[in-house]
């Protein structure tokens, strides 16, 4: 039951879109998915149609150092078929992020909170804010694997390579045993000269890059607007196929790294 984080230090690269669409593709394949929205902007929360007001209990309350909420309070079940969500609301989540700073070991709070949920879901996916603060660190520490999201521009690529360094730091200090799967390039337009230049730059650094890339297509934005993953909005579209390919590649990379991919579905079938 892997936990996966999509992240980048740079904003606007498509972390939320990727999280939502990977979750959608997994759900379409019959897996149960928990999406954890750790971004105070709450875009994933909004996309799934959950209200972002003061009455919403979600990630902020789950991570509250003084009085953490139970999972049953924080999880909104059934936002899509086989997808549940822990929503994010801006003000309380920003407050909690500050409250976590002086708390020793607070980078492990999300891992502690999600640990009982790993038996309930086939996949857990974390969407993070565009920085390397404690919320992002919590997501990384709670995860089995991390994918950095980038566009083909120099600042996005830099934000993605920062993620690799951060994962390495967590491993070195023994806080977590986590894999950096690589950079997933998003909003790709091959005809641009910049695409080739940035690709060469990343090659020269040697950072792992996923073979699958997500092209810039109108259907993705339209699906976001409609409030659903593109595999539901336009199941036969090229974008839906690309996200399915992302899922396949991530699964393969996790398998190569011997991360337990036993899902409740396959475990049940094996019996």
């Amino acid at each position: 039951m892997p936990t996966l984080t999509f992240t980048s230090e740079k904003g606007g690269v498509g972390k939320t879109t990727t999280s939502v669409n990977v979750a959608g593709s997994l759900a379409a394949a019959g897996h149960s998915v928990l999406v954890v929205d750790l971004d105070p902007q709450g875009n994933a929360t909004q996309l799934f149609g959950v209200e972002r007001d003061d009455s919403t209990i979600g990630t902020a309350q789950l991570l509250d150092p003084a009085k953490p909420a139970a999972l049953s309070e924080a999880v909104v079940v059934g936002v899509r078929d086989r997808i549940d969500l822990i929503p994010a609301v801006r003000t309380p989540l920003n407050s909690v992020a500050q409250a976590l700073v002086p708390e020793m070991g607070s980078e492990t709070f999300l891992r502690e909170a999600l640990s009982p949920a790993k038996d309930l879901y086939d996949w857990i996916i974390c969407d993070t804010p565009p920085n390397t603060g404690l919320l992002t660190v919590n997501a990384i520490v709670a995860s089995d694997a991390v994918v950095a999201i980038s566009k083909y521009d120099q600042w996005s690529a830099e934000g993605a390579t920062t993620v690799e360094g951060l994962v390495g730091k967590c491993r070195r200090i023994g806080v977590t045993d986590i894999e950096f799967l690589g950079i997933l390039f998003n909003q790709v337009e091959d005809k641009l000269i910049l695409t080739g230049l940035v690709a060469d730059d990343i090659d020269s650094i040697g950072t792992s890059v996923l073979t699958t890339r997500i092209s810039s297509r109108a259907k993705i934005g339209q699906a976001n607007y409609a409030g659903m993953p593109v595999c539901d909005f336009a199941p036969n579209s090229d974008s839906a196929l690309e996200y399915q390919a992302v899922v396949n590649e991530i699964t393969e990379r996790l398998s190569e790294r011997r991360i337990d991919l036993t899902t409740r579905t396959t475990a049940g079938a094996a019996k």
């Binding site: 149609g49 079940v77 059934g78 708390e103 409030g227």
Partner: protein
């Protein structure tokens, strides 16, 4: 129907669909997961206090009482064990008392480096303060080979600012470094933005760092053991470029 109209219609349908799913209608029945989630208790919060196993040890009889107005909760003595050499764990404990204990634990050489506490967030401070801290740390480390948990210093400074932000002003120039003896920094590790991850609290944290280091100085001068300087090392210029140290 135009594409825009179709999208709006689809958005509305989706929201209605969400509402009906919440009511248990549809192919996927979330009620089963809801029932399973309800069996999972909430995590323990920090308000539940410190266990003896997790608590840091008391420093020793030489530790003076803190007179800082922003001093921490007075339950430290009740919560800590008194076995010398007991290591500070990275587990969650009550925040304020344990942090101040951590600072003094390290000063008396009892904290364990490389724990989860040593990976905490460091605040961004202005460049002149950053350079000063880096220089002092480098000089002291070279002479004493002792370091203080970065996380303890930065976490405490950030906590002070968060608790009373108006009490701290942006640090001015190179003032505070010259006021504090080198011996104070015997265990001071890199309190600069070389650490990751970062969380921006702004230049007020520089003031809080200065206050904290003054507190540390007072503690040491009051009688806690200080490491001997083995060799007087010449000061060397260092500079920071994008948070990375570079040779002059």
């Amino acid at each position: 129907m135009s594409t825009a109209a179709k999208l709006k219609s689809k958005q509305a349908d989706n929201r209605a669909r969400l509402k009906s799913k919440q009511e248990g209608v549809g192919l996927d029945d979330p009620q089963q997961r809801k029932n399973a989630l309800s069996n999972i208790p909430a995590r323990r919060g920090s308000a539940s206090g410190v266990s003896e196993e997790d608590a840091p040890s008391d420093t020793d009889a030489q530790t003076p009482e803190r007179t800082d107005a922003q001093s921490h909760t007075p339950d430290t003595a009740d919560d800590v064990t008194k076995s010398p050499g007991k290591r500070v764990s990275g587990k969650r404990t009550s925040s304020n008392s344990t942090l101040s204990s951590t600072v003094f634990e390290v000063l008396t050489e009892r904290a364990k480096p490389g724990t989860a506490a040593d990976t905490k967030i460091i605040a961004s401070i202005d460049a002149s303060t950053r350079a000063l801290l880096a220089q002092v740390e480098k000089d002291v480390f070279r002479s004493t080979r002792k370091r203080l948990s970065r996380s303890a210093v930065m976490s405490e400074a950030a906590r002070r600012v968060a608790a009373n932000p108006n009490a701290y002003q942006e640090m001015a120039g190179n003032d505070f470094g010259a006021r504090i003896p080198g011996e104070v920094y015997a265990d001071l590790i890199e309190v600069t933005n070389l650490a990751e991850p970062k969380l921006a609290y702004g230049p007020r944290v520089g003031s809080a760092i200065a206050e904290l280091l003054n507190d540390i100085e007072s503690h040491i001068q009051a009688g806690a053991p200080t490491p001997e300087r083995t060799t007087e090392q010449p000061h060397t210029e260092i500079s920071l470029v994008d948070g990375e140290r570079v040779a002059p």
